[in-house]
C-alpha cells in the first residue's frame, strides 16, 4: 500500500511538471489558459492525494480552493478578459519549441540535482515532491521572462504559485498551508482584476524608444 501511495503522488507531481512544459510553447492565449486550467486540476488532485496520504484533512481545503478558484473561476475570468481586450486571437511570439524545451529540461535537471542532493535524509515522498515543485517554480519563472503579454505573464506566475502550493503540501505537517494558499488566491484575484480594470496588455504598450524614455522619466 505504501508503495502505491507513493507512486500515485509521484505520478501526479510528475504530471504537473509535464503540464508546465506544455505551457511553455503555447502561442495562443486561449490554448494557454486551457492548459493552465489543466495545471490547476492536476495540482488539486495532487494536493488531495497528499491530504489522503498524510491523513491531513485541512489540506482538502487547499485542494478545493485550487479546483474551484484556479481551475474554474480564474480561467473563465481570463477568457472573458482576453475577449474584451480583443487579444484572444493574438499569436504571441514565444521562444521556439526546441529552445524552450531545452531550457526547461535544463531547469528541471538543475532542480533535481539541487533538491535530491540536499534532501537525502528526508522521507522519499516529501523529497520527490520538493524536487518536482522546484521544477514547476523554475518553469513558471522561465515562462514569465519569455513572455511579453500581461495575461501570459500572469499565467506564468500562477503556475509558479502552483509549484509553491505543491511544495507546501509536500512538507509534511506544515502549519499555515491553507492560510498561505488563501493569501495567494487573494493576490491572484488582485492581479486579474488589475489586468481587467487597467487594460494592461503588455508590460510596455509600445516599443517606441522615446515612449519608453518618457515612462522612465529620462527625457528632458
Amino acid at each position: 500500500m505504501q508503495g502505491l501511495t507513493f507512486d500515485i503522488a509521484h505520478m501526479l507531481a510528475g504530471s504537473l511538471v509535464v503540464v508546465s512544459f506544455l505551457q511553455l510553447y503555447q502561442d495562443r492565449l486561449s490554448a494557454l489558459i486551457n492548459i493552465f486550467a489543466l495545471h490547476a486540476l492536476v495540482l488539486a488532485l495532487s494536493v488531495a492525494w497528499q491530504a489522503f496520504a498524510q491523513e491531513a484533512p485541512h489540506l482538502y481545503i487547499t485542494a478545493v480552493i485550487a479546483l474551484i478558484f484556479k481551475a474554474i473561476v480564474i480561467p473563465v475570468a481570463l477568457r472573458r478578459i482576453i475577449v474584451r481586450l480583443g487579444i484572444h486571437r493574438e499569436i504571441e511570439a514565444v521562444v521556439g519549441v526546441g529552445p524552450a524545451m531545452l531550457l526547461g529540461i535544463g531547469l528541471v535537471a538543475l532542480s533535481m540535482v539541487v533538491m535530491l542532493r540536499v534532501t537525502a535524509d528526508a522521507d522519499p515522498l516529501a523529497r520527490e515532491d520538493l524536487a518536482f515543485a522546484l521544477s514547476v517554480v523554475l518553469l513558471g519563472l522561465l515562462m514569465m521572462v519569455t513572455r511579453r503579454n500581461a495575461v501570459s505573464q500572469v499565467v506564468g506566475f500562477m503556475s509558479l504559485e502552483n509549484g509553491l502550493v505543491l511544495a507546501a503540501t509536500g512538507a509534511k505537517g506544515m502549519p499555515l498551508v491553507v492560510e498561505i494558499s488563501v493569501a495567494f488566491s487573494v493576490l491572484i484575484a488582485f492581479i486579474v482584476i488589475g489586468i481587467f480594470l487597467f487594460r494592461i496588455r503588455e508590460r510596455f504598450d509600445t516599443v517606441d524608444m522615446q515612449e519608453l524614455d518618457r515612462l522612465r522619466g529620462e527625457r528632458r
Partner: protein
Amino acid sequence: MTLDGLTGVLLIPALSAGLLAALPGYRLSSRLNLLAAFLTFAMSVSLFVVEPTSGPYLLVDDLNKVFIVLTTFVAFTTSVFSASYIEHEIEIGRLKPGYVRFYHAMYQVLMFAMNLALVANNIGLMWVAIEIATLTTVLMVGIYRTHEALEAAWKYFILGSVGIALALFGTILVYMAARPVVGEGLDAMVWTVLVTQAAKFDPALLNVAFVFLLLGYGTKIGLAPLHAWLPDAHAEGPTPISAVLSGLLLNVALYALLRFKMLLALNPAALAPGPLMVTAGLLSCVFAAFMLYRRRDIKRMFAYSSIEHMGIIVFAFGMGGPLANFAGLLHMTMHSLTKSAIFFAVGHIAQVKGTQKIADMGGLTVTHPVLGWGLVLGVVAIAGLPPLGIFMSEFLVVSSTFSRAPWLVMILVFGILVALGALFLRLNTIAFGEPRGTSAPAEASYVPMFTHLAIVLMAGIYLPPPLVIGFQNVAKLLG
C-alpha cells in the same frame, strides 16, 4: 487580551484602517491618520518600559524593538507630512476625495502589515505580513491612475510577487530543515524554537533555503539585479509613500533577511551567509552610484540613492561582527531618517514647481529658501559629509571592516564617492543657479523634515550612551 505595547502596535493601525475606510472628508481623516500613527508610536516606545511576553505567534526582543520604534516614528512624521501633501493634491485636483479615503485606510493597513512582519514569531506569519505590505503599497503606487503610475504599479506587482514567491519557497525549505529536529507542526516555524535548535538542522537544506530567501526578500530590499521595480514605484506613487517605501518597507524586508541570517549563523556546518550578502551589497552600491548620473527625475534619483544605501547596509551586516553590525544598524537608522526627510522636501518641491523633472527646477534656494536649504542639508547628509549622522555611520562601516577586507572596502568607498559626485551635480542644478520653473509660494509642513534632519545632525555629533548600549546589544544578537 490586555492592551500592552505589542497588541497596541497591531490593533491601533488595524482598527483605524477600518475607521478611516468608513469616514468621508479628508481633513478629518488626515488628522485621524496622524493621531493613529502617533498612538502607535507611543505604544512602540512603551515596549522599552514594559516588555510584553512573547507567544508562539508574536515576539518582542531587542532586535525588533529597534525596528518597530524606527518604523512607527517615521510613519508618524510621514503622516504629518502626508496631511499637508494630500491637501495640496486635492486642491490641484490630482487626487479625488474618494481616493483619499482609500489612501488613508491603506496607510494604516500598511502600518499594520509592517508592524506584524516585525513582531511575527512565526516565519509563515512574517511572510504573510510582508505580502500584505507589498499589496497595499502596490495599490498606493497606482493611486494617481495615470499611465505611468499604473505601469509602475504593475511592474512592482509582478516583480514583488516573484520575490515573495521565492521567499515562500525558502520559508518552506526552512520548515523542511527544522521538521526532523523540532517535530511536525507549529513549533517548526517559530523563531524562538528554531533559534535554540538551529545547530542540529540539515545544513545543505538550510543553504538552499537561504539562497531563495536572499533572492526573495532581496527583491524587496531592492538589491541590484532585482531592483527594477524600485525606481518606478518611488517616482510614480504619492511622495509620502515614496518616503515610507524607502525609509521603512526596505528595512522590513531587510529585517526578515537578518533573522534568517541569524539562523544560518547558528549552524556551524551551513554556508556562511556573509559573502553572499557582501557581494549583493557591493554590487547594489556601485551599480546604483553609477545609475545616479543618468537620472532626470528627482524622485527616481533618490530612489537609486536608496538602492545604494541599502547596498551599504547589507554589506555591513554581511561582514558581520559586533562593530560592523553596529555600523549597519546605525546606518539603517540614519538612512531611514534622512531619506524620508529628503522625500518630504522633494514632495513639496515637486508640488510648487509642478514637475519632477530636474531640468525644470532650479535656483530653489532663491525662490523657496526654506525648502531649498532643507534639501541641500538633506543631500549633504545622504551623500555622507561630516558632521551629519550618515558620515558617522559610513565611517564606522568602513573602519570596522577595513582591516578584514581592505579591497572590498575600497570598492565600497569608490561607490560612495561616485554617488556623492552625482548627487552634488544634480543638487547644483536644483538648488542653485538661475531660478527656473514656477515660484508659487509653498504651503509646506517643515516640522517633520527638520525634525529628522536635526536628529541626524545630533547623531553625527553625539550619540547618547543608552542608544549606543542598545545598539551594541542588538549588534551582539546579530552575531
